[in-house]
Symmetry: C2
Subunit: 492 residues, 2 copies
């Protein structure tokens, strides 16, 4: 497929040769969607539809390129139908549930092409999950007479898309639900989707900053920068940024968990590094820390579990191991953990500033070891600036293509799919559209004690090529300085 | 002057028509340098020198373009002399004092052209100020037989340059000392120097990030970002970034001081804004805060003065006003101020994280006012990443030109000047070199209780055009959203 709108009338979807098996448990939960096979585009004749009414919404955190998905969708629909109404639901899924929307015109959209952010519609973290939420959404879809609904979101939102699609199919509602893989975290990928949009822009934005900071660290020769990178689950962002900038040290949450590292192991690694570099006259460095690292340290998980029980009415005592770990934390963190709890009384792990925690504990350990050198450190957080940046040339082109494909799916009455493209490491003209059945991407997972069908999150593969490359290089980064300084994103 | 090296042999320096008066107090301190007049370049014949030996050093914090100053200097010297030795002093002024240097070859320099950072030589905050430091520097200069010394630094470093130049002149040491105006803070400017290098790159780097964050704030609609911007003295950076991005609110330290605002006045401004926007359905915004704002609040200055006395052996009690102010601070800040003191026992104002202080106090005040809306805020700091970024096209060209000029000064045996260019808002071919006598830039100021001759710091002019523009726009920014989203720096 050639990614301009004119080709859309000269192609048609057919089943891909390669099947996409659906797990038996998923088949019983999503019986209709489970019959889908992956689709590819071949040359063919598609007749223009008389009219298409389509809804679109953003779900969850911002990712660069969202506006181009809508632009691609708009252009595609206008090519594939004589009359088009595109409804943009406002403020995320809640807009669908409440029927709050704006009509997206060419004039309005033109101001948002190639722009960052989700501000055309806004976004939100609500779900379309409960029976009530699904029923309300259905009412809005039927009231507007939508032929299609495009959900631009991450794994949870695409899970919601699957259930909506199944419901519509079961009830004979002729609305095609299409998911678009969005997340800067990079953990929404699978056999059909090579990457989620926004990851490229976010990691390039962070890497330019990390490179600048590394250059500053090297020039001044007196600071360690503890840089926390956004993302609570997978460490794809840290891994990608590490390969782009060659920091002194980078933690990968998946490795911390697999190796069963304790908090003290992390501190030992850091303090050993600081001591060794100090002996070589280097009192500076750049440390990359995944925002959610604390939740991947097995003993911390256990502590938090016990703390929740101990702070609840049950008032269970901590085990000696957890008590010891708790006491090893700096006082201000102990206090924060005990005081700041969520409405359910649970410890808010997400509020623990992992960069500052590691930094404080390094200071403490250096004192214990009677470190004679200099240690001065700055905590930093990189996050929001990478979510809403103007999309990189890759993300801008990729998202536009995803939008085109989503429109093509709807015009072809394809329901319950996630749009994707293969061959993304080649120039855009060589990208190959592959549309994956949402059901084939789902697994059963325990969530809050219950088994649920969800789109699988892709964590960092510790046996994969990227991690292996990182592993082979990182020792050299610790001893010497091998910083790279990527330029900020350049637009053509 | 055309800024390629080939023109350097076809021009010569003559006195500028416009004089540059030197204050009588400065005349008595720097009698030799005070006789200088500003210089301009005219067409003329300059014969090539047989040999030139020149030293160069970075002083103070990094600023983008430093490497290009050295590249320009190198190219200029090689044009103006048959044989050149360029000594790069290592780690800042301490390299000059101790005679630590590396010889800068074309091969070495070529890897640093157009690159960020100061890592070719490193930098440091030592001064060449005491008799001992000046004597040691003199010994090194004489031992190497330097014809010139180029000091790339801010106001303090250029003050040091003036005293060194005076000393050399008085003692008949034929070494020309030339200062190059460097600082991202933008406070080194005067009648001859329109801007210091690094300011353009730093403000563009910060503004791209601020724009991204504003777009994210607008998209998610649920966060206030309290963004602290590097710089302890002048607020040029905040003012420039505000005009480039149109944040919801920006504080200018000079205005805080001039208006005699109290800490509670700042909090009132913020909380009023939060309440008004909340009433309009806007629970988000971007607030820009100069890093050093606390030191510009008159009552805070007084409190710190009193605290230093109260915490010293004198144990003087705080006045009731200061006691009340102290008690109004969040507990963690009270503790930090009392506990973390410098080796002289003084309160470390610089350790107070102004973004977090204002944020915490807003939360407190919102509670006092029984605010019913939503307030969620993120503190952020932008600093180091703007100091060592790859120089913007402007800074890259400007610094190279400054380096060329510095070389020309040395070859022309001009001692005690700061190099500069006028007409900088025009294309580079129209820039006009103007070399200012360091003495003419100096004033007497009280520093630690003593009157000292220093290069004057240029604070934000509250009657200047830039501040007036900011003033005329800011009310609109508070009510509506007028964010601008500058692209990251583009290189050609």
């Amino acid at each position: 497929m050639n990614f301009d709108t004119h080709a859309l009338l000269k192609t048609k979807f057919v089943d891909l040769d390669e099947p996409a098996p659906v797990l038996p448990e998923i088949q019983s939960i999503l019986p209709h969607l489970s019959k889908r096979r992956p689709l590819k585009l071949i040359e063919g004749v598609t007749s223009r539809r008389k009219e298409l009414k389509v809804g679109v919404l953003f779900s969850g955190g911002q990712a660069s390129g969202g506006h181009n998905v809508i632009a691609g969708l708009f252009d595609s629909l206008h090519q594939l139908a004589e009359q088009v109404t595109l409804y943009g639901f406002l403020g995320g899924p809640i807009g669908l549930i409440l029927g709050n929307y704006k009509i997206l015109t060419r004039e309005l959209l033109d101001g948002y092409r190639d722009q960052g952010g989700f501000d055309l519609l806004g976004s939100g973290r609500d779900k379309v999950e409960t029976e009530e939420q699904i029923a309300q959404s259905k009412r809005v879809v039927q009231k507007l007479g939508l032929d299609g609904l495009v959900i631009i979101g991450g794994d949870d939102s695409n899970t919601n898309a699957a259930f909506l699609g199944e419901e519509f199919e079961a009830e004979g509602i002729p609305c095609s639900v299409i998911g678009v893989p969005k997340t800067i975290d990079g953990d929404l990928k699978n056999a059909f989707v090579e990457t989620s949009f926004g990851f490229d822009t976010a990691t390039k934005t962070y890497s330019a900053t990390i490179g600048n900071i590394a250059r500053d660290a090297l020039s001044a020769g007196k600071y360690y920068f503890f840089i926390k990178l956004m993302g609570r689950a997978a460490s794809h962002i840290v891994l990608e940024c590490a390969l782009k900038t060659h920091p002194t040290l980078a933690f990968i949450s998946e490795e911390v968990e697999a190796e069963q590292w304790k908090l003290s192991d992390l501190i030992d690694q850091l303090v050993n590094l600081i001591e060794q570099r100090s002996a070589a006259g280097k009192n500076y460095g750049v440390i990359l820390i995944p925002e959610g690292i604390v939740e991947f340290i097995p003993e911390m998980k256990q502590l938090i579990l016990e703390l929740n029980r101990s702070l609840s009415d049950a008032q269970e005592e901590l085990t000696p191991e957890s008590q010891q770990l708790f006491e090893s934390l700096p006082l201000s963190f102990q206090k924060q953990i005990k005081l700041e709890r969520d409405p359910h009384g649970n410890v808010q792990v997400s509020k623990i500033e992992s960069d500052r925690l590691l930094l404080e504990m390094c200071k403490k350990e250096l004192k214990v070891r009677s470190f004679k050198g200099k240690f001065s450190a700055q905590p930093l957080f990189l996050g929001y600036e990478g979510r809403s940046a103007r999309p990189s040339p890759f993300d801008a082109t990729y998202t536009y293509a995803l939008g085109l494909l989503a429109g093509k799916c709807i015009a072809s009455e394809k329901n319950g799919y996630m749009v994707g493209l293969r061959n993304l490491n080649q120039p855009a003209v060589q990208w190959i559209p592959v549309v994956a059945p949402l059901a084939s991407l789902m697994v059963l997972e325990e969530r809050k004690g219950k088994m649920k069908a969800v789109i699988q999150k892709a964590l960092v593969d510790l046996h994969g090529a990227q991690f292996k490359k990182f592993q082979s290089l990182r020792e050299g980064w610790q001893r010497g300085d091998h910083f790279l300084y990527p330029d900020p994103i350049q637009f053509t």
